[in-house]
Symmetry: C2
Subunit: 322 residues, 2 copies
């Protein structure tokens, strides 16, 4: 089984590749090759027990997509995207990469005629506007960012290309991933990882919202497990909507910090400062958090058992020096 | 006020143009010019009291769009599409015209920077799958045809281009239009007009489904009135979802025929034959009919008062010889 991970240079793509290498199989079949493709040369997987190749791929260019998605490709993970703030500031980049990039992959599959399995990562950014709580799997998608609109359009295309038999597509709407490894970035959600990650690393971090702020989270480790499970769901079980809400947990900032203290003691929480940031608050206040994922849960996807687990995963998997 | 009707050669575009000419104003402003644009040369409006031009426009070609949508365009009606059966049989045509055609119009507006008002016609084909009844304005769009998927993606783009201020977009999901003038076509819904239209014209017609079959209908006359009203809704009243379900009425075939008999006497109904057609039945059985349009009703759009009205409209507006 040949697997291509587009967006394979990102932290999720890298974690997914390592998890697939560790398993050695997908859907009961031995993995013969993993190709990590990204717009910049992705890192490889050191000491992998099966062939892991790296390739440059610009998904805005159909010829570049054709070089990594071939007649031998059995499974495609499409994780590549420009994120929310980028797509909002650079409208054309977002359209080219998030919408046309997805279309280029789907069109490549259609022209190949091999109907590969494809896992598409969407986002809870597809929700918004005046749609009532709770958000369920039959709620209107009413995105309030270009990123969310492009992801929602991608979902429709993945469903239609699947219905036509051009691809065996599945999509999952990712919760906000926390605790995300690495450094803070310019995303409005960046603090949702950094207020835990930096203190766990012995560094200060600022929380720009109040401790009652609620949002919908999942750990990187569970996200990767869910991405693997998504590829293993029998197509017939997906019914007439191949897009699932990936399960997460709705938590307040206070609950996340208390979980950190329960696992790592009281010291890290003392490194958090509480300077309000109106710009960030006004963006994240519109985000939806009362999200239900019953269908995905029934199909074997899972949320973290608790945020304490999530803190432990960060310490085990990602904390520098571990 | 300069108005461009793309898809202006179709029966709705022609009726809309005549209605706009008869009014002379839109949103309180005098109409200075109407341009009917279509892929084939559209018919003009004879004896119009204001300038009505015709133009060829292939919406799959950005340069062709740029020739009809200019810096002087105040209002765009985008009615052009390849319909359901065509988009299902010719996948590339559907993508090019329904998805990329809509994108080309939106991109033209973005590049102009003049934020014209744009009315986009979507369809109840965006509904489908395992979404529970009733269908409301916050139900998931889960189309089961390529036409529906392309229209749903167009809705997302109209909303996002509007949110960004590139266009003052509005969309309306049209019910099945009946009694549609003209000849039967290859659409699976064709009989929903022909079983009334042909008998009212003194000709036989076959009904391929049972008399209990339910669907969601609107007359051409009310559809045109609603298209005009849609352009006149203050943008602020549309909130964060600029797409409305255009109101219709849910009726059985029996109710439609009884309405015809109430208006036109018992003779036309005797011209209907009842040969079941499994192919047509299996397609239309998946269509949704329990559709609510509360938001559009509150914003001044309307359904037909009764199907008797609808029969009268056909006789007054469209029956040959009237």
């Amino acid at each position: 089984m040949n697997i291509v991970i587009i967006g394979g240079g990102g932290f999720l793509g890298q974690k997914l590749a390592r998890a697939l290498v560790a398993r050695g199989t997908l859907n009961g079949t031995a993995i013969s090759r993993i190709t990590l493709a990204d717009v910049n040369d992705p890192a490889g997987i050191e000491g992998a027990s099966l062939p892991v190749e790296t390739a440059r791929c610009d998904i805005t260019d159909p010829a570049s997509v054709a070089r990594v998605v071939t007649g031998e490709t059995d499974v495609i993970y499409h994780l590549a995207a420009v994120v929310s703030a980028h797509a909002e500031e650079e409208f054309e980049d977002g359209m080219q990469i998030n919408l046309f990039g997805t279309l280029n992959i789907l069109e490549r599959c259609r022209k190949l005629g091999t109907a590969p399995l494809m896992v598409f990562t969407s986002s809870i950014a597809v929700y918004g506007g005046e749609v009532p709580d709770p958000i369920t799997e039959t709620s209107l998608l009413n995105p309030q960012t270009s990123y969310g609109a492009q992801k929602a359009a991608g979902e429709l295309l993945v469903n239609d290309y699947s219905r036509k038999g051009y691809v065996d597509g599945r999509g999952v709407r990712l919760p906000t991933i926390s605790i995300r490894p690495g450094k803070p970035n310019r995303a409005a959600s960046s603090f949702m990882s950094s207020i835990l990650r930096e203190p766990l690393n012995g560094q200060a971090a600022n929380c720009p919202v109040g401790e009652d702020f609620l949002h919908y989270y999942l750990s990187p480790r569970k996200c990767v497990e869910n991405l693997i499970r998504t590829a293993e769901i029998p197509a017939a079980d997906l019914g007439r909507n191949r897009i699932l809400q990936m399960p997460g947990r709705t938590l307040s900032i206070r609950q996340m910090i208390d979980a950190m203290s329960a696992v790592a003691g009281p010291e890290p929480a003392r490194l958090i400062t509480w300077q309000p940031d109106e710009a960030i608050s006004s963006i994240v206040a519109g985000w939806r958090f009362d999200i239900h994922a019953d269908r995905a849960l029934a199909l074997g996807l899972a949320a973290d058992a608790s945020f304490e687990e999530n803190v432990r995963y960060y310490i085990e998997d990602d904390r520098p020096g571990n």
